[in-house]
């Protein structure tokens, strides 16, 4: 964790840019920025595992997709559901799933952890894509966006694109702040101790499996929060949202951006998203160029995009 001046300034600039963007961006790019903020939150949640706890999950999309499915299931066909109830239900479902999957998974480590998280995500994927009650392989619609009301008083209207944009931005900030707080707290220090040397951390008297499990549940719940936002945003969920392709993409975003920093995944989400969007516009062989970009990045920029910032003169703490 770093609190040196340069990143603080960069944080403020990024925040100002995101906050001002709806006033200048135009409808499509504002919508794209929204999508990427959701991806950034999703990547942040994974970074808690990959970058700080040393647990590489290859099934993180399970929690992302599951929250969306819960929203689709509890939203009636003719009327919206309360935002508070929906949030509670979606996050509870993701947290519960993360608790169960995490309870089994944290006993393993390394590649075995990668594969066991993949296994659970795949089981959930097949369950949803093969159950007609959950829309099968074609997925489900979320018929209405939730209503943010207290009693009869409408607090804010998520159907308004501007309001929804700032709601997502605020959620991203809240997630970022939460993770910053967690990582500065003694709990976060233990997690990082686990990543560096689990044996020593255990020897110091910390029950490391329990710490890893709590970290896994927090990450799963935050991924659920991102999945909830995505389902509200697009009004559609499909088994594809839980597929290993999605788990792979978010993992790539974290590595690309720079694991072990919180700004890295956010940078990764925007770089990946804008690059994909831009390349699809200019060339038929966009996949080739995406691949070349990724290979070049690995070779010449160890530590991801965040590595650039950390290595900048006077910028980093290490």
């Amino acid at each position: 964790m770093t609190a040196s001046p340069a990143p603080v300034l960069l944080h403020l600039i990024a925040l100002a840019l995101l906050a001002a963007f709806p006033w200048v961006g135009g409808e499509f790019y504002v919508d794209l920025a929204l999508t990427l903020m959701i991806l950034a939150l999703f990547a942040l949640s994974l970074d808690l595992l990959v970058g700080y706890t040393g647990l590489v999950s290859f099934g993180h999309a399970a929690f992302f997709g599951l929250a969306g499915y819960v929203l689709a299931m509890i939203t009636p066909e003719t009327e919206p559901v309360s935002l508070w109830a929906a949030l509670a239900a979606c996050l509870a479902a993701s947290a519960a799933a993360a608790l169960v999957i995490g309870w089994f998974s944290v006993r393993t480590s390394g590649i075995y952890f990668i594969m066991i998280t993949l296994a659970f995500a795949q089981m959930l994927y097949y369950f949803l894509s093969e159950s007609p009650a959950f829309g099968g392989s074609d997925g489900l619609f979320v018929n209405f966006r939730p209503v943010a009301a207290v009693g009869d008083w409408l607090l804010f209207d998520l159907d308004d694109p501007m309001v929804f944009y700032y709601f997502v931005l605020a959620t991203l900030l809240a997630g970022y702040a939460l993770l910053t707080t967690i990582l500065r707290a003694p709990f976060g220090q233990v997690l990082q101790g686990i990543r560096i040397n689990e044996g020593r951390t255990r020897a110091l008297g910390f029950p490391t499996p329990r710490y890893k499990l709590v970290s896994f549940v927090i990450a799963g719940t935050l991924a659920g929060l991102a999945g909830f936002l995505e389902a509200v945003h697009t009004g559609y969920v499909s088994p594809g949202h839980l597929s290993w392709h999605e788990s792979g993409i978010v993992l790539m975003v974290v590595i690309l951006g720079g694991r072990g920093t919180l700004y890295g995944p956010v940078l990764g989400a925007f770089t990946f998203g804008l690059l994909r969007n831009g390349l699809q516009d200019v060339t038929e062989h966009w996949i080739l160029f995406m691949g070349l970009f990724i290979v070049a990045l690995v070779l010449f920029l160890p530590g991801g995009i965040a590595g650039l910032i950390r290595r900048a003169p006077k910028g980093g703490s290490q």
Partner: protein, 407 residues
């Protein structure tokens, strides 16, 4: 891919047809007419898979559609055409973003796509209820698209899953079969097609002994073929597509089942795949709204023109693309080239009553739920081609259960 005449799928924008002037760069508000010779192009957004397993379908559909518009002079309502194509990656999670790009950023007048039903539903969520664009589905067969999820501005130029195999039941019963095992992938299209295919079979007193569902998109069939051999049904009704269909038909024959238990299915099982399947496909009876061997002047001309333009054989997907082109032409002719927001009702009205007399599949017309009413042919593979035995069901219309359109 060196043939320059071939219209390649591309994310680059390009103009086809006459009068490509400087006016194309305009965004946002598009005046439909300037002075003569300086008209703004009609924007056709295309969201089809150009990478991954379904890429060949995306190419065929794009080719067919462009060919139809080229044949009509390369213009829509007298205006040049700008195609804006995006690779859908056949990925439902990416579909909302792709659709919004075409609808919001590029402000397309028409939206053509997709192949994959999940992507179609995600697109419909963005498009339904808007005045613009008008969406034309050139493949995705999910029944719901023209049933419960039907929408005023969404039309289908292809088929509903139900239509492709509804006549299968009658065909099997006519051949004297009493028992059948169904086999397909465990996903929505598979379930819908098998349900349609056994509907009539049961009415005629046939029995379905077992529904075998293979995890999608797995292609390991051996365990199930042994099951079929042990169950000894009179016939097997199967649906797979693409690489899965090639492998299934070959495995089925290699397991020695082909001669004792005849294979039936929707035409996707063999259409355009007989070369890869070889002798294993001989004798398989399928039903579909098209066959390359259809002996009509329109189809012969279509096949010849397609081969000439793209140096490739046309398939059923190219036909669906071709008919999509016909619908675009009809829509825009109804407003004499006007695609403004207030022209939308007139185009929708024209498409709702569309008749397509010059389709390679034979004449068809649009149903009230915006799905083709068309003949379904009975075909059998003979000498490596799908030979037409006759019409299995004339003017077949999807029941469109649950579709409410307030026009």
């Amino acid at each position: 891919m060196t043939d320059t005449t071939r219209a390649r799928p591309s994310r680059r924008r390009f103009l086809a047809g006459a009068a490509a002037t400087g006016a194309i760069a305009s965004t946002g508000f598009v005046p439909t007419r300037f002075a003569i010779g300086g008209q703004a192009p009609v924007k056709v957004g295309i969201l089809l898979p150009y990478s991954g397993t379904y890429a060949s379908l995306g190419e065929a559909i794009t080719n067919g559609m462009k060919m139809r518009i080229e044949q009509a002079g390369g213009t829509l309502g007298g205006r040049p055409v700008e195609y804006i194509a995006i690779d859908s990656e056949a990925s439902p999670p990416q579909a909302p973003r792709h659709t919004k790009k075409l609808v919001i950023k590029d402000q397309v007048d028409f939206l053509v796509g997709p192949v994959h039903s999940g992507v179609a539903l995600a697109m419909a969520k963005v498009v339904a209820g808007r005045d613009k664009p008008i969406m034309i589905i050139p493949n995705a067969g999910a029944n719901a698209l023209t049933r419960g999820q039907c929408a005023r501005n969404i039309f289908r130029a292809s088929f509903s899953n139900w239509q492709t195999c509804y006549p299968c039941g009658q065909v099997m019963a006519d051949d004297g079969h009493k028992t059948v095992v169904t086999m397909t992938w465990k996903y929505a299209a598979g379930n819908e097609i098998m349900a349609a295919g056994t509907e009539l079979f049961k009415e005629f007193g046939g029995a379905v002994i077992k529904d075998i569902r293979v995890p999608f998109p797995d292609v390991e069939f051996q365990a199930h073929l042994s099951e079929i051999a042990a169950l000894k049904p009179d016939a097997v009704l199967a649906f797979f597509s693409g690489g899965g269909a090639i492998k299934f038909v070959k495995d089925y024959a290699a397991a020695g089942l082909k001669d004792s238990i005849p294979l039936y299915g929707p035409g996707f099982l063999t259409e355009g795949l007989t070369e890869g399947q070889g002798a294993a496909a001989e004798g398989i009876k399928t039903t579909l709204h098209y066959a390359r061997t259809l002996d009509t002047p329109v189809n012969r001309m279509f096949l010849e023109a397609y081969k000439k333009a793209y140096n490739k054989e046309a398939d059923v997907f190219a036909v669906q693309g071709f008919d999509t082109g016909s619908l675009l032409l009809q829509a825009i002719d109804a407003t004499e080239g006007d695609t403004g927001a207030d022209a939308s009702p007139a185009m929708i009205e024209a498409l709702s009553a569309a008749e397509v007399p010059d389709s390679p599949r034979g004449p068809w017309r649009m149903s009230e739920a915006h799905n083709p009413i068309m003949d379904i042919y009975l075909r059998q593979v003979e000498g490596g081609v799908n030979k037409i035995l006759g019409v299995a069901s004339r003017d077949l219309e999807d029941p469109a259960t649950g579709c409410k359109l307030d026009t």
